[in-house]
Symmetry: C2
């Protein structure tokens, strides 16, 4: 029977929760709502989730009609939100909005992750405030182990690339500081100017690019929302 996994209630909140409110599922939905469609791209968004569990969750979401697997010419290679899944956008957005408003920064900032941050920054970076040429911006987190310490964003013709190794281009701006400071700026809990003033963030390089950083650095989509806690 379905008795174990089911709440045994006809209430729509209970029925929806059986589908949505399982471990990892909201994060998978967040990735879909960002436009991710493929298994290993989803994995990049939920790196601590085991692939077997991701596979299982995808099957559950297909079964529930939230996503569908679009069989490429050879095998099921892509997943997409169904109209039902697309209608979860508001729920996931509001859930995140609540978290942004009410979860203390000291709690959120326990979960720092440079690759998630840099990947988010890559996706939301706005090239327009930058000079109309190729720009290379290096981010350095001195406190991190070697392999996570240096990152490069290369903006060229409106495209943004993220590298975890030196791409070899001349660096136009070096942003150096703690991952915590950089994350709090990206989350809208601080600003570039504040962190620079507190000497938590150091900008070296092209002054025009440095002074425009708050503008080309796309922030978290929740950053503009007023927070209610420290």
């Amino acid at each position: 029977m379905e008795s174990t996994s089911s709440y045994g209630q006809f209430c729509p909140v209970a029925m929806a929760s059986e589908i949505i409110c399982k471990r990892w599922t909201t994060l998978i939905l967040r990735e879909f709502l960002r436009g991710t469609t493929r298994f290993n791209d989803l994995r990049r968004g939920v790196p601590r989730m085991s692939p077997s569990l991701l596979s299982k969750r995808l099957k559950e979401l297909v079964e529930a009609g939230v996503i569908e697997s679009v069989s490429g010419s050879k095998g099921p290679a892509e997943y997409r939100l169904t109209p039902a899944g697309e209608e979860l956008r508001g729920v996931v957005r509001d859930l995140g909005g609540w978290g942004h408003r009410w979860i203390e920064s000291k709690v959120s900032l326990r979960n720092l992750d440079p690759s998630l941050l840099m990947w988010d920054m890559r996706r939301s970076l706005r090239p327009e405030p930058l000079p109309p040429r190729r720009c290379t911006i290096q981010f350095q987190y001195p406190e991190l182990p070697q392999v996570q310490r240096n990152w490069w964003l290369v903006i060229d013709e409106g495209n943004v690339d993220l590298c975890g190794f030196d791409p070899g281009f001349e660096v136009d701006l070096l942003v150096r500081g703690s991952l915590r400071s950089m994350t709090s700026v990206w989350m809208g809990m601080s600003t570039v100017a504040q962190e620079v003033a507190k000497r938590q963030l150091h900008l070296d390089g092209d002054p025009a690019i440095a002074s425009a950083m708050q503008h080309w650095l796309g922030l978290s989509s929740f950053a503009a929302m007023p927070r209610r806690v420290a």
Copy 2:
């Protein structure tokens, strides 16, 4: 480390999901949003949840700042939503709204439960369309075992009481039919008139009360929302 229970992501969706998207938690929140404050009243709303797990979840929600326990100096402890918890109303409502729109009725109606249904009906019944005297309405589900078969709603001076035993008053209206039919009416998937016409529901007694049933029977708060699936 907190690695086990945490997603390890600073994203607000992840942070909020750590608190909200655990088994049973959305249903507990639903009960709070309905105004329930005490342990055993919460239990009535989540009868299949073990009391020890409910106790654990309540502690987690207090810790997260979603509820607070108001220890009366003498009386039993009460729990109340904090302002943060109150701001989850939209999330829980929209989650239920999504479930109502997109989960097939054949799935929802697998989870019939007469005590949850009758308790919901008791809470949302509208006394105004009824005669201004004491009214007793009996609901009978012939297919259920004896102990769940008969229920009485007694409306008197604007108060509604639910009994699982015969209160002894003369019955003004007997509503007889399957729990499935009655539930689908309450969920807004059908109407009293439709079920009566299909002979799934039988009304015996005061014709005025019978013909007004669709009006005094408060429906699920989701019933008015258009559904997208069968």
